[in-house]
Amino acid sequence: MMDTSEMLMVFNRHRGNAIVVPGRSGRHWVRISEKPDRDLPLGDPAMGGHASFAMGLALALPRERIVLFDSDGDVQMGMGILATIAEQKPRNFYHFMLDNECYATTGGQPVPNATTIAYDAIARACGYPRVHACDNLETFSILVERILAEPGPVFTWLKVRPEVENQPIGARTKWRIRSQVQAVADLKKELGITGC
């Protein structure tokens, strides 16, 4: 298993100009990213929707590379979108799924069938043309450049260490430095999007 923060630091070396939707990894990514105006650290607007949001972004911005760091819990909740993504075939979409085998933000309870589910097989069966799986940082360090050179949609299953939170939500450290609305507004400004 990988440490999420270390994995993101490796990814950051290969990010280029990609727009990054960090999902539940946002608290790490906001400290690592050097291009915050091209990030959408939205936290958790509603569980299960990160992949559909990022796919929509990829469809709207076909000339931009869109990278999503999704989670196992989110994918299990919104698994149907994998078929839609495979159907739409956004060539600019890179779907990394962090699998910590649990709902870390609610105390670490296991997701259904946490240790034996094969997310790469699910993505492939849904029609993703390119699928990878990786459970250690060394392999990821070698693989990430190749993944980002492939045409999307690409699904990559990453095993990461759980970072379980047990404190009441109100007592947890706030990591978001911008509201969701401000993050979207900043991206639109960065991309020169006006009028909607």
Partner: protein, 172 residues
């Protein structure tokens, strides 16, 4: 209230309203009213159809399309709208997404008597989320679709169009 059913809402009229309002992507899940509209949308080169298999995914998808500067429309049935509560809350309302939802009003009747609870809870659901809605029954009501787009743009919030034309226009 008259119980006379007005002339139906034709799929061509709905498509014209979409084009007039600059819709680029229709995020949708088929219902029993939209088959002819589907055929027209599929033939329309200015539209990208994004089919989802659960309505809640439509709201997050539309939010992403809007964040990328395009104009989504969500086309679902009232049953699926109710399934979408948390996604409507978190993605569409939370991100101030000015998206129009065209919602098939299953169970609606002009005389107000319906045994379909999908109709019973539709307006209550929208009221609970503070989502404004306009009802269309026929082509004469079609300008309300543009009114919904205007309202969405003005308020930066989702706005619903309730399509109360069950088994008359869309599917003909």
């Amino acid at each position: 209230m008259s119980e006379t059913q007005p002339a139906g809402l034709s799929p061509g009229t709905v498509l014209a309203e979409m084009k007039k309002n600059g819709v680029t992507h229709v995020v949708w899940l088929p219902d029993s009213e939209t088959n002819w509209l589907y055929l027209l949308m599929k033939a329309e080169p200015s539209l990208t159809l994004v089919g989802v298999n659960r309505e809640g995914l439509a709201f997050s998808c539309a939010a992403g399309i809007w964040a990328g500067g395009k104009v989504p429309l969500i086309l679902i049935q009232n049953t699926g709208l109710m399934e979408s509560g948390d996604s409507l809350r978190g993605w569409a309302l939370g991100l101030n997404v000015p998206v129009v939802l065209m919602v098939g009003y299953r169970g609606w009747t002009r005389h107000g008597v319906s045994s379909d609870t999908a109709a019973t809870y539709t307006e209550r659901f929208l009221d609970a989320f503070g989502v404004r809605y306009f009802q269309v029954e026929g082509d004469a009501d079609a300008p309300r679709i543009s009114t919904a787009f205007d309202e969405a743009r003005k308020t930066q919030r989702p706005v619903a169009v309730l399509v109360a034309d069950e088994y008359h226009g869309f599917n003909r």
